[in-house]
């Protein structure tokens, strides 16, 4: 392999890897799923041409340019004839691809010549891979292979350059001949089909989890729960000056997309002393189950479409780093997986509590009823005041797949449950003065208790949210005092303040209500949602007899509608008629129009042939002129002796074209005598001079350039007479 070829291939190895990387990056960025053959051709061919141009001699460069122009013209002609119009096959992506090609060539050219450039290119590739993995850039995935090619080539080249060796130590040749091995790696790797998911590196992950688990457990044991930061707390005191925190607590994944927030109830409180909530309810009544049964049976009484009012959602709750003994579950929990039963969960006054162990890294599947609470139909449902009957109760038991053998959840127990709820969560809270006026104004004209609560919820939403409210004064020592202080001072507060106020106002209205602490998880899709301590929340729940507990969201800025279409609203899909495609433009039907079109087409075709032809002719003229100029310049640069040799060789070439070439082993004298009969002797006068120049001592022979020019002219004249074509070629390409 010649040095020229090695030099070209060496440069091109770098260029091709850079070009392919850039191309695949661009295509990915442009949203293309794969690279077309045209795109490859448009980027790689110009780089081949440019690389060749940098390595060829001038004459060869000019010829290459000519061939390229001719080729492009040919392609243009073929394209134009096939498409029927003279136009460049322009595509919006053509220009970027050509730019990529030029930029890649320049980068590859520099990379092949500089160690710093090679290091920079490798660093750029590492950055490229990192950004791609992080999802910041989006190249086509196969872009990794040419990108790795840049690194491998650079490394291999640098090793060779620094390696002290003897023998054939041309690093360029070495890289060219080693390239099959490097390419084999990249091609093999690119042919493998890779999974889209991370490798399930179980031993590695188990090791990592085990290590982190030990650290977490130690931290869990020794770190006290801080009250002054956001996060779930078993302390019901309304504090001030909360610090925002975002420690991971739970991980939630749902079976469907959650379009509205998910409330995970943790601790339920029933008594408020003006500063903090307490829990007096320590009963073992299965309040949660009664609540779900009441809700289902009540809907069954109102409508046979349970899913119009409540939808069943499954979630998976994973405890990652929460310091609590409470099971976080939606209020209307319909089921939890059997493993959680084994975990020793008991019901404590409506709360679900782990007994005897910390829920560390426990994962529990839960199903719950999500209310369609903002649908007008739900309003109507809530306004109905009838209590469910035994028939609906049994249906509810059947829906929940509860086999109530001992009768603990029977319909007969239902009145007791209602009485218990009223007794536990009701309170007489006197309200007077300004606050009473405001509330009567707010409730005026309300059709139901539910509507009153919705109005109250909406009015609180307009208040001020404040993570750092002023401390509650010591004189606030009762629920009434708290309401007066909180609602009339205008200081605002965070969720606990609003939930407290709402619960107390609901109770003041005669409705059983409770204060719930837990987590509020914003709406999200099916992907796993990381629940942080910052998502800890408090909200009120109000008991509507015959309907069950309903959660409200009085905290300003936290309200999100929970609504979906009821079955009666879903009709067959209708399609609006699409506008018909516009009629094709009227084609000229007259014979004259056709003739005009043909004439236009003919003129286009003529132009297609004439313009490229002119271009080719112009190129040839330029080529001939430049070549002659260069020749003249070269001759001028030679000394007399060299010029004599050069012109003599040229004359010998002309003789060769005449069919009188010098044969191998023949001396110049023998040659002259051999051809003297075929060519006029005057034209052969240069041979003796040439012989003298070659074999005499330097400086001893006086050159006669005029003589040799005369011989040349004579020989050309003979050539012109004998073979005109060869003469023209000789004149054009001297």
């Amino acid at each position: 392999m010649s040095g020229l070829m090695i030099s070209f291939l060496y440069d091109y190895i770098y260029t091709v890897y850079v070009t392919l990387t850039a191309l695949l990056f661009y295509c990915g960025h442009a949203g293309m799923e794969k690279v077309t053959l045209k795109a490859y051709a448009l980027t790689l061919l110009p780089t081949v041409l440019l690389s060749l141009l940098t390595h060829l001699r001038l004459k060869e460069r000019l010829m290459l340019i000519g061939i390229t122009l001719a080729g492009m013209t040919g392609i243009l002609i073929v394209y134009s004839v096939s498409s029927g119009s003279l136009s460049f096959p322009y595509n919006p992506r053509t220009l970027p691809l050509l730019f990529i090609s030029l930029a890649s060539f320049a980068t590859g050219f520099i990379t092949a010549r500089s160690t710093i450039a090679r290091i920079s290119a490798s660093a750029a590739v590492v950055l490229f891979i990192t950004l791609t993995l992080e999802g910041i850039i989006h190249p086509l995935p196969t872009g990794i292979f040419p990108a790795m090619g840049i690194i491998l080539t650079s490394v291999c080249d640098e090793i060779q350059i620094r390696w002290k060796k003897e023998g054939f130590t041309d690093n360029k040749a070495h890289l060219v001949f080693t390239m099959p091995f490097i390419s084999a790696i990249l091609i093999t790797a690119s042919l493998i089909h890779y999974p889209a998911d991370p490798y399930d590196w179980k031993p590695f992950l188990r090791l990592r989890d085990g290590f982190l688990s030990v650290i977490d457990r130690i931290e869990y044991r020794i770190a006290p729960a801080s009250d002054a930061i956001t996060g779930f707390s078993e302390n019901g005191t309304l504090m001030t000056g909360l610090t925002s925190s975002s420690t991971e607590a739970l991980r939630i994944s749902a079976s469907t997309d959650l379009n509205s927030p998910l409330y995970l109830s943790g601790r339920i409180c029933d008594r408020f002393d003006g500063h903090s909530w307490k829990k007096n309810d320590r009963s073992d009544i299965p309040e949660r189950t009664f609540d779900v049964l009441e809700s289902i049976s009540s809907v069954k009484l109102y409508s046979d479409k349970l899913r119009d009012y409540y939808t069943d959602v499954s979630i998976n709750v994973e405890y990652t780093n929460t310091k609590s003994h409470y099971l976080f579950a939606p209020s209307k929990l319909t089921a939890k997986d059997s493993s959680s039963e084994k975990s020793g969960i008991t019901e404590d006054g409506g709360d679900l509590v782990f007994t005897g162990f910390n829920p560390y890294h426990l994962s529990i599947k839960e199903s719950y009823l999500h209310p369609n609470s903002d649908h007008p139909g739900f309003y109507s449902y809530m306004q109905s005041e009838t209590l469910p009957e035994e028939e609906q109760w049994k249906e509810a038991l059947s829906v929940m797949k509860i086999n109530d053998k001992n009768g603990a959840l029977s319909y007969k127990k239902y009145p007791d449950y209602r009485a218990f709820i009223k007794k536990t969560y009701s309170e007489d809270i006197p309200i007077s003065g300004e606050l009473a006026k405001r509330l009567s104004s707010l409730y005026e004209g309300a059709d139901s208790e539910y509507e009153k609560m919705k109005r109250l919820e909406a009015s609180m939403q307009e208040m001020k949210y404040n993570l750092d409210p002023a401390p509650i004064p010591d004189e606030v020592d009762s629920p009434s005092a708290y309401l007066e202080y909180f609602l009339l001072s205008g200081n605002g507060g965070y969720c606990s303040y609003y939930a407290t106020a709402f619960v107390l106002l609901a109770r003041a209205e005669g409705l059983p209500a409770r204060y719930v602490q837990g987590y509020r998880i914003p709406a999200h899709n099916k992907e796993t949602c990381i629940v942080t301590s910052g998502m800890a929340h408090a909200w009120p729940e109000v008991y509507f007899e015959g309907k069950g507990w309903i959660a409200f969201e009085p905290t300003p800025g936290f309200y999100t509608e929970s609504v979906w279409s009821m079955s009666s609203e879903i009709t067959a899909p209708s399609f609006s008629p699409k506008p018909l495609p516009s009629a094709p433009p009227a084609t000229p039907s007259s014979g004259n129009a056709e003739a005009v079109k043909r004439a236009d087409s003919k003129s286009h075709n003529s132009a297609l042939i004439i313009i490229p032809s002119i271009l080719i002719i112009v190129f040839f003229i330029l080529f001939v002129l430049i070549n002659r100029l260069l020749l003249r310049h070269r001759l001028r640069a030679l000394n007399a002796m060299e010029r004599q040799i050069f012109l003599s060789k040229d004359c010998l070439n002309i003789l060769k074209l005449l069919g009188c070439g010098l044969t191998e082993g023949e001396t110049l004298s023998e040659y002259r005598s051999r051809i003297s009969s075929a060519v006029m002797p005057e034209a052969l006068a240069f041979i003796s001079d040439y012989e003298n120049v070659l074999y005499s001592k330097p400086g001893s022979f006086v050159t006669d350039t005029e003589k040799i020019y005369k011989c040349r002219r004579l020989l050309l004249k003979v050539l012109k007479e004998q073979n005109r074509l060869r003469y023209i070629i000789k004149i054009l390409f001297p």
Partner: protein
């Protein structure tokens, strides 16, 4: 190489982390490429190993120790891929390649060959392997190194060097020569015999003729009887070539050097060595020296656990006692050598023992014998300064 492995290991661990946390072609592709790098390098080296060709030869059929001979070797690549790093190592225990650093690595591009014309120097007499011992290959990424031991090594048969001594320091050869001339004066009665017709008349001893009444001719056997005997101890003292080759070489060099020197001084020399039988060589002319040199070059040393036997056999030669001086060249002074020396001393024959040892030789108790001199000769070094 270690640095390259560390970098590769770091990249591999990174790629493992990549596939552990990210799916898709990017992370897995990176992992696949990094994993395949060493495999491809190894494959490359195996290819090089299978296709590499090395030729070597030296021109002289007979190599003399400590004399260089032309040595050629050719590394050849007849394939389409380059040989990135080829290092040639030579046998260096007993021979060396002059003017060539064997730490140099060579690179061979496709269809190329490197021919090196160097000189081979064999240091010891004997038969051993010389030239290319092994060829070490390294891959293009400097990750692996494979050494291929030459399965077709060159075996050289090296004959001992002839060292010409300028003078003899270990004993006075001139004086020995004088004693020879005065032998007839001191013991005339026992050195005549009856004249025979073939005798030269100039050799007639007229005094004895007058005394005996018949023609008596001086008995001229003194030059044979009274020359110097050289006992060459051909016991192999070890089974390790590194130990026995230098000492055997030096023993033969001493024998040859002394023989050449003494014969040059017209002192008759008779050598004795054991080569499956006791071989005796009289060296009194260039022709007899050449035959002695050939014989001693081909002498084989024998390793026997009770090696005293050979020297004992040699010392039992009766004509040893007719010599004026006995030179014993040995690699170990043991009971056999001492008894031999003692017996010779008792017959008024001086003994010089040349003790050759690889390490710095130490003179043993033998030095107490009255007419025995022990000269320690190291296995390496210039003999001119010692003998």
């Amino acid at each position: 190489m270690r640095r390259n492995w560390l970098i590769l290991a770091a990249l591999w661990i990174l790629s493992l982390m990549g596939i552990s946390f990210f799916g898709g072609t990017i992370s897995y592709g990176f992992f696949a490429v990094v994993t395949m790098i060493p495999l491809t390098s190894l494959l490359y080296l195996i290819l090089v190993l299978a296709r590499f060709k090395v030729y070597q030869h030296f021109e002289c059929p007979e190599i003399v120790s400590n004399h260089v001979v032309p040595f050629y070797f050719t590394l050849q690549n007849e394939d389409w891929f380059p040989f990135s790093g080829v290092r040639v190592t030579f046998y260096s225990d007993f021979s060396s390649i002059e003017g060539l650093d064997d730490s140099i690595e060579y690179e061979l591009l496709p269809k190329t060959k490197i021919k090196k014309e160097t000189m081979l120097l064999c240091r010891y007499r004997g038969e051993y392997l010389v030239g290319i011992k092994a060829v070490t290959f390294r891959d293009h990424l400097c990750l692996f190194k494979i050494t291929y031991n030459n399965r077709e090594p060159l075996r050289a048969t090296v004959i001992p060097d002839i060292i010409v001594l300028d003078s003899l320091k270990s004993f006075d050869a001139e004086a020995l020569s004088d004693k020879e001339s005065s032998a007839g004066v001191s013991h005339p009665d026992v050195t005549v015999r009856e004249y025979t017709t073939d005798d030269d008349v100039r050799r007639i001893n007229w005094k004895q003729t007058a005394r005996l009444g018949k023609l008596a001719v001086r008995n001229d056997i003194g030059e044979e009887k009274d020359g110097i005997g050289i006992i060459i101890d051909t016991r192999r003292i070890s089974s390790t070539p590194n130990i026995y080759l230098p000492t055997e070489n030096r023993i033969l060099e001493i024998a040859i050097a002394l023989s050449l020197f003494l014969s040059g001084k017209n002192i008759p020399v008779c050598s004795y060595h054991y080569n499956r039988r006791v071989e005796k060589h009289i060296i009194d002319s260039p022709v007899t020296f050449n035959s002695f040199y050939e014989a001693i070059s081909a002498a084989s040393f024998e390793y026997t656990p009770d090696g005293n036997g050979i020297l004992k056999v040699l010392c039992e030669e009766k004509d040893l006692f007719s010599k004026r001086m006995i030179l014993i060249i040995t690699a170990a002074i043991d009971d056999a050598a001492l008894e031999c020396a003692k017996a010779l001393n008792e017959n008024n024959i001086s003994v010089i023992i040349y003790l050759v040892e690889k390490e710095s030789p130490c003179i043993p108790k033998a030095s107490v014998l009255p007419h025995t001199k022990i000269i320690a000769v190291p296995a390496e070094g210039n003999l001119n300064n010692i003998l």
